[in-house]
C-alpha cells in the first residue's frame, strides 16, 4: 500500500521574528500588562469623577523639570531598543552590545531619578489620601516593569558576553526591545496625569 506523506525536512528550525511562539507569548503578556495599566488609569479617572476636590487641595504643584527630563529620556531610550531590534535581524553584535549597555544605563538612571528626586518631592504618601494611593500604585507598577525590562536587558547583555549567541537569543533581544517600547510608552499618559494635571485648573476650584 502506498501512503502519501507531507515532508517538512526542508523547513528551518526556529525563527527570530513574529512567526515564533515566544513572539506571540510576549504579545499576549503585553495584552495582560496593558489591561493592568488600563485598570490603574481607570482607577484614577473613576476616583477623579467621584471626588470634588481633585487633586486634593493639600497637594502641591509638582516640580516639572526632573520628571519631564526623565520622561523624555525614557522615550528617547526607544531608539537604542529599536537599534537592538533591527541589528538582531542581521546579527550585528556591536550595535546590539552598545545599545544594550545604553538601555541598562537609561533604565538605572530613570529609576534613580524616580526614587531619589521625583518621589521625595511629591509631598504626599500612599497613605495620605486616595489621590496619593493611586499615584503611588501607578508609580509602583511602572517601577516593577522598569526593573523587569532593565533586568532582562542586563541578563541578556551579560549572557551574550560569555556565551554563544544563537538564533533564539536574537529572538530574545527582539522581544525585549518590544517590551521596552511598551514600558516606555505606557509611562506617558501617567506622566500627564501625575505631573501636568495638578497644574491645570483644579476640579471644584
Amino acid at each position: 500500500m502506498t501512503q502519501r506523506v507531507l515532508d517538512v525536512a526542508a523547513l528551518t528550525e526556529g525563527t527570530a521574528d513574529s512567526r515564533s511562539l515566544i513572539w506571540w507569548g510576549n504579545l499576549a503578556m503585553l495584552a495582560i500588562e496593558g489591561t493592568m495599566f488600563a485598570m490603574a488609569m481607570a482607577t484614577y479617572l473613576y476616583l477623579r469623577s467621584t471626588n470634588l476636590d481633585w487633586p486634593p487641595s493639600t497637594v502641591p504643584k509638582p516640580d516639572l523639570l526632573m520628571p519631564t527630563i526623565n520622561t523624555v529620556m525614557l522615550l528617547l531610550s526607544c531608539i537604542p531598543a529599536f537599534i537592538i531590534d533591527r541589528a538582531s535581524i542581521t546579527k550585528n553584535m556591536l550595535p546590539i552590545r552598545i545599545c544594550q549597555a545604553l538601555s541598562i544605563a537609561v533604565g538605572l538612571l530613570f529609576l534613580y531619578i524616580q526614587y531619589a528626586v521625583m518621589v521625595p518631592s511629591l509631598g504626599y504618601k500612599w497613605s495620605s489620601h486616595a489621590y496619593g494611593s493611586v499615584v503611588w500604585v501607578i508609580i509602583g507598577m511602572h517601577t516593577l516593569h522598569m526593573v523587569a525590562a532593565t533586568g532582562e536587558t542586563a541578563l541578556l547583555f551579560l549572557y551574550s558576553l560569555f556565551k554563544p549567541v544563537l538564533k533564539k537569543h536574537l529572538l530574545d533581544f527582539r522581544c525585549t526591545a518590544v517590551y521596552w517600547y511598551f514600558v516606555a510608552l505606557v509611562w506617558v499618559p501617567f506622566y500627564f496625569i501625575i505631573f501636568i494635571e495638578p497644574w491645570m485648573q483644579r476640579k471644584g476650584s
Partner: protein, 655 residues
Amino acid sequence: MTELAVLPPDFAKEAAIMEKTWASKPGVIGWLSETGHKQIGLRYIVTAFLFFLAGGIEAALMRIQLLKPENHFLGPDAYNQIFTMHGSTMMFLFAVPIMEGFGVYLVPLMLGTHNVAFPKLNAFGYYIYLFGGLFLYTMFLLHAAPQAGWFSYVPLAGPQYSPGKGVDTWAQMITFTEVSGLVVAVELVVTTFKQRCPGMSLNRIPLFVWSMIVVSFMIIFAMPAVMIASGYLSLDRLVGTHLYNRSEGGDPLLYQHMFWFFGHPEVYIIFIPGLGFVSSILTAFTGRKIYGYTAMVSTLVVTAFLGFSVWVHHMFATGLPQLGESFFTAASLMIVLPTGVQIFCWIATIWSGRFRIATPVMYVIGFFLVFIVGGLTGVMLASIPIDWQVHDTYFVVAHFHYVLIGGALFPLFGAFHFWFPKWTGRMYSEVMGQISFWLLLIGFNVTFFPMHVLGLYGMPRRVYTYQPGMRWGNLNVLASAGAVFMALSVLTMIINFLVSRRAGRVAGANPWNADTLEWSLPSPPPVYNYLHVPTVSGLNAVWDAAPDQPYVTGMRFDRREILITRVLDAEPDHTEQLPGHSPWPFVLSCTMCIGLWGAIFFAWWFTIGAVLSGIALIGWFWPSDRELEDHILREKGELGGLELGMPEPVREEMP
C-alpha cells in the same frame, strides 16, 4: 513536497525513540519537573475535583444548618466562613481550573501537536494554582478563613470591619489562581494559533478548541481587573492606602466595578467551555457535522464581547444613574440572542442526525433543561424592578446555581464520561453513569427550585438562620433533601470511575466513533501524542480523513520538535524545539509563595520573594551546556544569513 512513498518500514523503532524523547522522569523530583500537557492537565482536573468535593462538603454543612429554623449546628461566624469558602472554592479553585485542565489536556490533542506552546509555564501555572488553594485551606483550618463572601465587598472586607488575616488570605488566593488562569490562557491562544496540524485552517478548528480560544481571550482581558481589585484590597488592609476608603477620597463602589468587570466575564469563562463540551458530545452522538458551525463560532465570540458589557447588572441596587442602568439592562437582555442561536443549532443537529443515547448525551440534555431555566430567570433579573425586589435573596442563589450547574457542571460531568475512555483506556459502567445522571438531575432541581420560591417569599441569602414564623421551613427541608441526592450522584460517579478505571471494558481508540483528532490515537494516548504530526482535510478530522491521509515526515524523533504552522491556513512554516523537564517552575512558584504569603504578615517579605523569584527566573532561562551545544550543532552553518522573510510555501495536495 507531497510524495508517494511506501509505508516506512519500522514504526516501532521510531515510536521507541519518541517514547524516550518525551518520557517522564522517575521519582519525586521527576514528578515535580514534569512538563507534559496531559500530565499537567490531569493534575488540574484531579486537583480541581478534590476542591469541588471540599466545596460540596461546605454546601452540605450549609444545608444541614438551614434544615430547620433557629438551628445551632453552625454559629454565625462559622456559617460566614463556610459560605465564603464554598463560593470561593467553587468559583476560583474548581470551576475555572477544571475547565483549564480540560483545555490543557485536550487542545494539543485536538490540534495534532505534541505539547502546549510553553510547557514550563504550564507546569508553573499548575503549581501556583495548587499553592493558592492549599494556602486558603490551610488558613481555614487554622481558623483564619475569610468571612466576607466570595466577592469580599468593601467596606465589609476592608481593614475596619474584617480584622484578622482572613480577607488577606482570600486576596492572595485570588492572585494565585488568576496568575494560573492567565498562564493557561496565553498558552492555549498561542498553541491554537501556531501549532495546528497542516490542513486545520481556522474554519476546521473543533468547536471545543474555539470555545477555549474565546475563553482564553476573555481571561486575558478580565482577570487583570480582579488582580488589581484584590491587590488594592490587600494594599488598603496591609499598608494603609485609601483606594476604597470613602472618608479619604476612595470609593467602595470602585471595588464593585472592578470586581464585576472581571466577575461577569468569569461566568462565561466557566460556561463557554461547557458549550464546547456540548458541541463535541453532540457531534459524536448524532454522527453528523454540527449544524451551523460558522454561526456557532461567531455567537461564541459575540457572547464574549457582550459578556464584557453587562457587569453593572450585578450592581443595580447600588443607586447608579438610571440611564446607565438602562444600558446594562439592554445589554443583559441581548445575551439571550447568541445563546439562543446556539441552542437552536444544537436542536437542529440532534433533529437531523442519528441520535444515540448514552450517559454523556444525557448530561447534555440535562444541560438544556437546567441551563434554559437559569437563562430565563437571568432575563427576569436583567429587569431592574425585579432585580430590586429579589436582590440578595434566594431567588438570586437559585438563578446562578441553575446557570452555573446547568451551564458548566452538567456538560462537565458529560465530558468526564465522554473522555473517560480516552484517559484510562477503559469504559465506565453505563448503568452507574445513568443512575448518577438521574440522581443529579432530580437532586439538583429538588435542591434549587424551591430556592426561587424562598427568594420570592423574601428569604435573604448569607444569613445563618431564620425565625420559625417565616414559613420558610418546609421549602428548606426540601432543598436539604435534594442535596442528599446530589451527594449520592457524585458518590456514584466517583465509584463508577474508580472501579471502571481498573475493571472496565477495554475501550479501544474511538468507542464513540467521534470526529476529533484525539480519537485517532490509542487510549490512553502515548506520551508523545502523535508519532507523526497528522494532517486533516475537513472539519471532522477523523471522519473526513482519506484512507491514505498524508502524515508529516521529516521531523526529528530524538528531540522535542514541534511543527509551527501559519495562523490562517495552517501551512507548515518552521519547526521549534520545546523545552523538556525542569524543576524551575516548581521553584519559582515556591519563591512566589514566600513573597505573597509573607507579605500578609510583613510587607518586606514581598521584596524578599521578588528577589528570590528573580533568581529562580534566571535559573529557568539559563540553558545548560548540553542544551547549548545541542543548539549550536543544530544551527551550524546557518547563522550567517538568518531567513527572516517567508520561506517558499510548502505545497500540499489535499483531497
